[in-house]
Amino acid sequence: MGRYLIGRFIKWVPSAVIVLFLVYALAFYGAGDPIKLIFLRAPGDVVWSPEQIEALREEAGLDRPFLIQFGDYFWHLLQGNLGNSIISNRPVIDIISAAAPISIQIGLAATAIMAIIGIPLGVLAGLYQNSWLDNVTVGFALFVWAIPVYVAGPLLLVLLVLVLKIMQVPYGWDGLFSTKAIIPVVVLALAPLALVIRQTRVAVIDVISEDYIRTAYAKGIPQYVVVYRHILRPVLTPVITTLGLIMITMINGAILVETVFGIPGLGYLTVNSIIEVDYPVILAITLIGTFLVMASNLLVDLVYPILDPRAAKAEVEEVG
């Protein structure tokens, strides 16, 4: 297993470097001058001169050729230094280490909700296909899927805070186990929840028509045992893959939820750093993003053998 993990990490490094290079090039050539943007984005009577801009670019090292800038960044990265934000001058490691844990907590919590609610609902809908339970579940899934986050968030706020008056505005971040986290996590989980329900349902419908399931029922095995032992395992394999992908999206991309609920996570940081062309922050987020993709794939790979022993065999052959 150790060799397997090291192998995965070694495979990740070159792809991370390539992604970093491409992102740096895109920001450098496509997004504009971050120093000029500090002034251009300010409204009204802002005043600046080309000399002022040039002095700031020189101070930030942005007056050097692209390859030298990237090489310098990469050299510092190898020493564990992610650099400083061009805009606020704060160390990027501080900025990221404050935002990433929040997004990871929210992403994991939303994924857990999706799994805990979505998989059982999908199984039930699949088992009782075309029944009222199936119709209600699928209808619910379609309904929540159809509501965008930027509508669900404010609507829930108005309903719970102003109409029902059962809570204060859940604004800001006091930790995952604070009441403030409930609505953001639920809102974040809503739309992908539909995906999980529908995928699970379809997989269950496929599996229950298999011969070995009919055999199991014919042998008089109770339904919950059949579901647990014979249906869930093959059903969960594709669902877990989907959950892994959704989790990455939620950790990296909960932009609207973070904006509406004032959560200082990675989503907001991503958008803001791109708008401000803050290279060091953009690159650090990219690095985390690629790492999360690798980690998520790794997690899924580790879960596969538990669900399907044939995958374990293939893994052993690959490592061997």
Binding site: D45, V46, E51, I116, L124, V169, Y171
Partner: protein, 559 residues
């Protein structure tokens, strides 16, 4: 049997859901926000007695902040600088000038040398006096490019040695001298009878030189954080700042010399989403905000929330005279004359606040209420387009808007585009919030820039110098290098006249009318200075420097 299993599965699911709900709804171990104590050097803040309830002012900043330096000259958090920094002087909401850190000022006969006296009572929050050395160091530091002050040129252009500092050739302005501990002298390269008025701003507040200026003459990293023992000069002093969460807490400055603040605590939080901010206001969890724009703001928050005096500032759709097709005056004329300013304003702000635009100047002496710039006329607009080098709409290149960053701006721009379509037959129009949202080649084609322009104090010459003089930002960057030598000449002459000289106003009016004849902007709206505060916040007013006036007098009434 099957029915029994079905019930078991449903029960299991229900149990899991219940457990999850209980876990999610569990009351968190709530912790009071940790308020860091001021450093030993600082005096203890005045704490309310146990019987008294702490009076807190909860303020929303419209964007997240991770930099609260008072020397950035802009950004959303700069709207609240008067809470914790004392300005040299200040204007009230009626445009009257008041002493603050400076209590006396005078000029020599030709207005080229200005002398300011520091109020002997003016001290920092640690009790140490604000000295002329602090003032000089602050102003020099503001001009150093690496400080990233966005508006330093508004205040120090014309001061001897300013150009050398802004061009990185020097670290100090030779024209600013600390004569003694209480006297600062400023030498200008040309007469400026209203230079003292420029100093009445919170964007260059004197800070403690020993904290803010490093040995290299540059700004010390995060010197303004309470963790670094910052001492301030305003009515409130910071006790905690969580820049990752964009939260800051301030308490009374016990050494503030203008009077004891009537609020115990000020909390700044960032709220970016307008609807969330409105929900926070309506649920009573927020007291004030720096700015918030939605087309339904008046309906949701009431007229008082957006009420406030008109300020010398207008938002316009500036036309770039260096780009096609707005480099043709007849095209500009057609684009402008087809639009009814009242309807543009109505589209964006059906219930106010503000006013529709009738000319460029507003809320300054010299505005002629009878002056008619143009009468909307579809026929005249069509004639102007026909007289242009493009002759008709089919020959016009696509029109690009920028600065369409809020719902109200979008409504106004869409209304204008629709009028152009119906009146002139213009079909191709695109709108974006910022330049960099366009592709590279399209960035160079943008002809219409929505932005505000005006003055930080009510003076028509300063207003026009900062808007239409060829050296101004709007003229250079929003109107594509607008340069009418006669306009420049009139304004330059007006700028040498004393503040009370009638010629100053007359010359400004001439320049103003000449500019309007060049048809350089589609009118949008004149801005007021809205309260953006709940009714229980009293003694609350803001000046045209966008600052709360006399924050030490602000009261939170029981509600």
């Amino acid at each position: 049997m099957e029915r029994k299993n079905k019930i078991r599965i449903i029960a299991l699911f229900a149990l899991v859901t219940l457990l999850l709900s209980l876990a999610a709804c569990a009351q968190p171990a709530t912790e009071e926000p940790e308020i860091e104590q001021p450093s030993e050097e600082q005096a203890e803040p005045a704490e309310p007695s146990e019987e008294e309830e702490e009076v807190e002012l909860r303020i929303a900043v419209g964007a997240r902040f991770d930099d609260l330096s008072p020397l950035r000259g802009g950004g959303h958090s700069a709207f609240w600088l008067s809470m914790w920094w004392a300005s040299p002087m200040y204007y009230d909401s009626d445009g009257q000038l008041h002493p603050y850190v400076f209590n006396e000022w005078e000029a020599n006969d030709d207005f080229t040398v200005w002398t300011f006296k520091i109020d002997p009572k003016a001290v920092f929050s640690d009790g140490s006096p604000i000295t002329a050395g602090d003032v000089k160091a602050t102003w020099d530091l503001s001009a150093v490019p690496t400080t990233k002050h966005q508006r330093v040129g508004l205040f120090f252009t014309g001061v001897e040695g300013y150009d050398a500092v802004i061009n990185s050739e020097a670290m100090q302005m030779s024209g600013i001298a600390a004569v003694d501990d209480n006297t600062i002298e400023v030498t200008l390269t040309a007469p400026d009878p209203v230079f003292y008025k420029r100093m009445a701003t919170n964007l260059i507040p004197p800070v403690k030189a020993s904290q803010a200026v490093g040995p290299d003459g540059k700004e010390v990293f995060e010197w303004w954080r309470p963790e670094n023992g910052v001492v301030v000069s305003g009515p409130f002093m910071p006790v905690s700042m969580d820049l990752d969460k964009s939260e800051a807490v301030f308490v009374k400055n016990p050494n503030f010399w203008m009077g004891e603040p009537k609020i115990d605590k000020v909390t700044l939080i960032a709220v970016e989403d307008a609807q969330t901010a409105i929900t926070l206001f309506q649920s009573g969890e927020l007291d004030a905000m720096n700015e918030i724009f939605t087309p339904t703001l008046v309906e949701e928050m009431g007229e008082e929330f957006v009420s406030g005096p008109m300020i010398p500032r207008g938002h316009q759709f500036w036309l770039d005279g260096s780009k096609e097709p707005t480099n043709d005056i007849n095209v500009r004329k057609a684009l402008i004359m087809s639009v009814d300013p009242d309807m543009v304003f109505e589209a964006a702000f059906p219930n106010g606040p503000g006013q529709s635009v009738t000319q460029l100047l507003v809320a300054v002496e010299g505005v002629d209420p009878e002056y008619v710039w143009y009468v909307p006329d579809a026929g005249a607009a069509q004639d102007a387009l026909a007289a242009s080098s493009y002759e008709n709409a089919e020959n016009l290149p696509k029109l690009y808007f920028v600065g369409i960053s809020q719902a109200s701006h979008e409504l106004a721009a869409q209304y204008i585009a629709e009028v152009w379509r119906q009146t002139l037959g213009i079909e191709e129009v695109e709108m974006k919030a910022a330049f960099d949202e366009y592709s590279g080649p399209d960035q160079d084609r943008v002809q219409i820039f929505r932005d505000d322009a005006g003055a930080r104090f009510p003076d028509p010459v300063v207003y026009l110098m900062g808007t239409i003089h060829s050296s101004s930002g709007p003229a250079q960057r929003k109107m594509g290098g607008y340069n009418n030598p006669e306009v420049d000449r009139l304004l330059e002459e007006a700028a040498t006249k004393g503040a009370d000289d009638p010629d100053r106003i007359a010359l400004a009016q001439q320049a103003h009318e000449l500019f309007l004849e060049d048809y350089m902007f589609v009118p949008y709206y004149f801005q007021n200075m809205p309260r953006y505060a709940m009714p229980w916040v009293t003694n609350w007013s803001k000046n045209s420097d966008w600052q709360v006036v006399e924050p030490w007098n602000v009261v939170i009434e029981p509600h």
